[in-house]
């Protein structure tokens, strides 16, 4: 997939929201897109998904099957979770949605009306409808917002699996939920300009916190980072890791070696 000098403005005389963006995406790429509020992240995602046409420039070779999980799933619809996903499955040519619903923990909510779902549960429905068809391009807008700890843990693995199968995964994400993925590409939007920066794993300034045994082959020690061990009650671990990640640290759980 190739973006060539892609620019976008909403109306003719408006300023450019996206300005001359160039990028190449290959099968298996996972991209984390960041930028300040109003920087144009959602607009870029809409362009990538094919929901909007560039004012100038070209987006070529978009994969045929696209999955899009919005930051706010539209719950004002007269369906239960099951009836909604069945309809979407038929639209997708009878795609299998049940395994994804199970994996994301939607099982107990299948007969709940969409309008009665919490924000996080509604977000899961949005993820399931995006994942069900095995997309070649998966676009996630703030995928970790409002999710419970289990799903936050599961989502990076799902993204990695899709990437292994050759899908391109692009996530606009303030919480750096995908930062543990190897070879994560990092895009930043600033004033409408798209920049690609080195992966956070190679940045020297970000300390890492590892819960469990310190040191591990492959950790970014060589890049000048420091790994510390933190001991805490097991029940507090998910909350602690989530908090550290929210603050920008590379935090993960590793298994005890003894």
């Amino acid at each position: 997939m190739q973006l060539t000098r892609v620019s976008f403005r909403y109306r003719k005389r408006d300023r450019l929201v996206i300005s001359h963006a160039d990028a190449r995406l290959s099968a298996g790429d996972v991209v984390e897109l960041t930028g300040a509020n109003g920087a144009g992240k959602s607009t870029l995602l809409r362009l990538l998904a094919g929901l909007a046409r560039p004012s100038s420039g070209v987006i070529a070779d978009r994969p045929a099957v696209v999955g899009f999980a919005p930051d706010r799933f539209p719950t004002a619809q007269p369906f239960t979770v099951t009836t909604y996903l069945r309809h979407m499955s038929r639209v997708r040519g009878d795609a299998r949605w049940e395994p994804w619903a199970e994996r994301l923990g939607l099982g107990p909510l299948l007969h709940t009306a969409l309008r009665d779902l919490s924000k996080g549960s509604a977000h899961k429905v949005g993820l399931v409808q995006a994942l069900m068809a095995g997309p070649g391009l998966l676009i996630l807008d703030e995928p970790f917002a409002g999710l419970d700890a289990d799903t936050r843990e599961a989502l990076p693995a799902i993204a990695a699996e899709l990437a292994e199968r050759g899908a391109i995964v692009i996530a606009a994400d303030h919480q750096s939920g995908l930062r543990d993925l190897p070879a994560l590409r990092h895009w930043t939007l600033q004033n409408g300009h798209l920049h690609e920066s080195p992966s956070p794993l190679t940045l020297p300034a970000t300390p890492a916190i590892t819960a469990g045994t310190p040191q591990r082959p492959g950790t970014p020690e060589a890049a000048g980072q420091v790994t510390v061990a933190v001991t805490l009650p097991a029940c507090d671990l998910p909350r602690f890791l989530a908090r550290m990640r929210d603050e920008g640290y590379l935090a993960r759980e590793i298994e005890e070696s003894h």
Binding site: P78, H87, M88, V91
Partner: protein
């Protein structure tokens, strides 16, 4: 595309929005066909119903297209494989809803509005008018739906004024400049609907096609 049209029809029914148009249609039927028309005016009575149902069908089409939240419309476009297919599925669903309502009105008119069934040729001509009414309603409803006119006030005014404009223009000698609703009624009253049907149907079809094409253009440009 069929699956997406079915999804939108299901949403229209499950949200109970369908009852708005249904109740309006029933009220119109109760007034227009409160008593059976005398023999000899069957075709005119059926044509009256085809014209009077147009704004209700436009309301139904607009209501159906507006049932889906804007964000879901985007998701649907991605799910179905493109904006063009999503627009086509919406129009198909809207036309299906309009066709069912138009069929209900025609059936009511035949059962309770006339004393005897009109001759087969006149009945077929009247049935075609109801199909054209469903098309006209779909086009007018689509052009005033939220995806084209985001303001509800502007949208409702445009729908009503659009219907009024159709009536006024079609009452004049320039009836060919719009869907010639009053020309349908005049032809039916004069007893020459069957003879004039090719001309009137062609004009009606052309304007309905133009309206639907304008909607597709506006949606794809957005």
């Amino acid at each position: 595309m069929i699956a997406l049209a079915a999804f939108r029809l299901a949403a229209y029914v499950r949200s109970h929005r369908v009852y708005q148009a249904l109740l309006l249609a029933l009220a119109m039927l109760a007034i227009v066909y409160g008593s059976r028309a005398p023999r000899g005016v069957e075709t005119a009575v059926l044509a009256d119903g085809a014209v009077l149902i147009v704004p209700i069908l436009a309301w139904a089409a607009r209501s159906l297209l507006d049932t889906e939240p804007d964000r879901q419309r985007e998701l649907s476009a991605i799910q179905v494989g493109g904006r063009g297919r999503e627009v086509a599925a919406g129009l198909l669903a809207a036309f299906a809803a309009c066709a069912v309502l138009a069929a209900l009105v025609l059936a009511w008119a035949l059962l309770l509005g006339v004393s005897v069934s009109p001759p087969p040729a006149a009945l077929a001509a009247a049935a075609l008018l109801y199909v054209l009414a469903a098309l006209a309603g779909t086009a007018l409803g689509a052009l005033t739906s939220r995806a084209v006119l985001p303001s509800p006030a502007v949208s409702i005014m445009a729908l009503l004024l659009g219907f009024m404009a159709m009536l006024l223009v079609s009452a004049s000698s320039l009836y060919w400049l719009t869907v010639p609703l009053l020309a349908w009624m005049k032809a039916a009253n004069a007893g020459d609907l069957v003879e004039r049907l090719p001309e009137l149907a062609a004009i009606s079809l052309a304007w309905c096609t133009a309206g639907l094409a304008a909607y597709v253009h506006l949606r794809r440009r957005a």
